[in-house]
Amino acid sequence: MISFRVDGRSVAPPYLQIVQQVKQALRMGVLDVGDKLPTVREVVAATAINPNTVLKAYRDLERDGLVEARAGHGTFVRHRPPGPPPGTHSRLGRSLARWVAEARAAGLDDESMESLLRVALRAETEEEIA
């Protein structure tokens, strides 16, 4: 079972935050096929968001074929979203963490690291287009 965090300051509307958190949990392997999502009332009690928002998020996930609602039982994971297998993210995350530690030791602050990452992403995209 996972719990959701809804950030009122985020630009993403609350329902989208829930959708993204479910997808993220599936990618990271926190959630797996057959797992149950918290019920609407459980989410509402924990986060004090509108129940219709939770329903809308679950409907969205259902439309994408990721979860299915079983009447009287709850909402269950049916598929993982397309993408690399769950281990990939944590493996890449660990190597990124090593890179961050190295950059920090070299005296880079967060902002310089973020801009380095952005530059690298952009360079890679341009290569693809070229």
Binding site: V6, G8, V11, P13, P14, L16, V19, V40, R41, V44, A45, A46, T47, A48, I49, N50, P51, N52, T53, K56, R59, D60
Partner: protein, 307 residues
């Protein structure tokens, strides 16, 4: 993926048309036409004196309109037990008997209400570890609000009207109060109108908005749809008459170099000189609060100069 998928068409819990209330010479509310669908939590937002309390009191049948019409679940709000049984109204000042305990209030409610569910109050308050046997005057402000809300819910109303329920509460008490409220809505069969000037809470809890300013309705509708209809346009200071012709300009800020406009879109904004971005609920509310009256297209071209 960000398409706003409409919630299946629900019946209206509240429908008003041209509703108005005058107190002698003072106009508290005028030409108020709104629809709130069933099952929603609607935020009633507006500056102090905008007419929020007046609208809630009209809907609760506590006062009669001087103009227009309104229905709540098809019935006309009035001082009639059959109508009042379906309405829960929690006034701003949290009307409880300070020397009586929650349990005393539960007993009194059982005598006064036909569909009373006293057990639900005990369950809700016990879950919140609020003592049932202490005089409510000795409880904290947050606990008192929760007692009042739990008692209002025990009526099993179909429409719950809350007047600034969280304004005086600290952040934790506010969260607990709103969790109690959203949980009751999740259980089904309840529509809520909640007046507030705290936009952050509204954004989290509400999915429908009624915005009042200067005794008039400025906005009414599904919050996500309203946000999707509005955009902030930033561009060089140049002739903006084309945009003003094609869209409804809500607010314009001009500096010597730049124009910033909040517009209600009628179709996509095509001018490449302007950068369009999404608006937050707070920006939207503030922009409409800045208006004294609903904008008529004729007035708009005269906002600032168009050079």
């Amino acid at each position: 993926m960000i398409d706003v998928q409409a919630v299946p068409e629900a019946a209206a819990a509240i429908r008003t048309s041209g509703l108005g209330k005058r107190y002698r010479r003072v106009c508290a509310l005028s030409d108020c036409t709104i629809t709130v669908p069933e099952g929603r939590i609607s935020a009633l937002i507006g500056p102090n004196g905008a007419g929020k309390t007046t609208l809630l009191r009209l809907l609760a049948g506590l006062t009669r309109p001087t103009d227009g019409e309104m229905t709540v679940y098809g019935g006309i709000p009035r001082q009639d037990p059959a109508f009042l049984a379906s309405i829960g109204f929690l006034a701003q000042e949290i009307p409880l008997y300070r020397r009586l305990s929650a349990e005393d209030h539960i007993g009194a409610g059982a005598h006064l209400n036909p569909r009373w569910d006293g057990e639900s109050v005990r369950e809700r308050l016990t879950a919140l570890t609020i003592p049932l046997d202490r005089a409510v005057g000795t409880l904290s402000g947050g606990q008192r609000s929760q007692v009042a809300l739990a008692l209002t819910l025990a009526k099993r109303p179909r429409l719950l009207l809350l007047d600034e329920p969280v304004a005086a509460l600290d952040p934790l008490a506010r969260r607990n109060f709103l969790a109690l409220l959203t949980d009751a809505v999740a259980a089904g069969g309840l529509t809520v109108v909640l007046s507030s000037h705290l936009v952050a809470d509204a954004e989290r809890v509400c999915d429908h908005l009624v915005m009042l300013a200067a005794s008039r309705v400025q906005l009414c509708g599904d919050i996500e749809e309203l946000l999707a209809e509005h955009q902030m346009l930033v561009g060089p200071r140049k002739d903006t008459s084309a945009i003003e012709r094609d869209h409804r300009v809500v607010q314009v800020t001009r500096t010597p170099r730049q124009v910033t406009m909040l517009v209600r879109r009628c179709g996509p904004v095509s001018d490449p000189a302007f950068q369009a971005s999404d608006v937050s609920l707070e920006e939207l509310v503030l922009a409409y609060m800045g208006q004294d009256a609903p904008p008529a297209p004729a007035e708009l071209t005269s906002i600032g100069d168009n050079q």
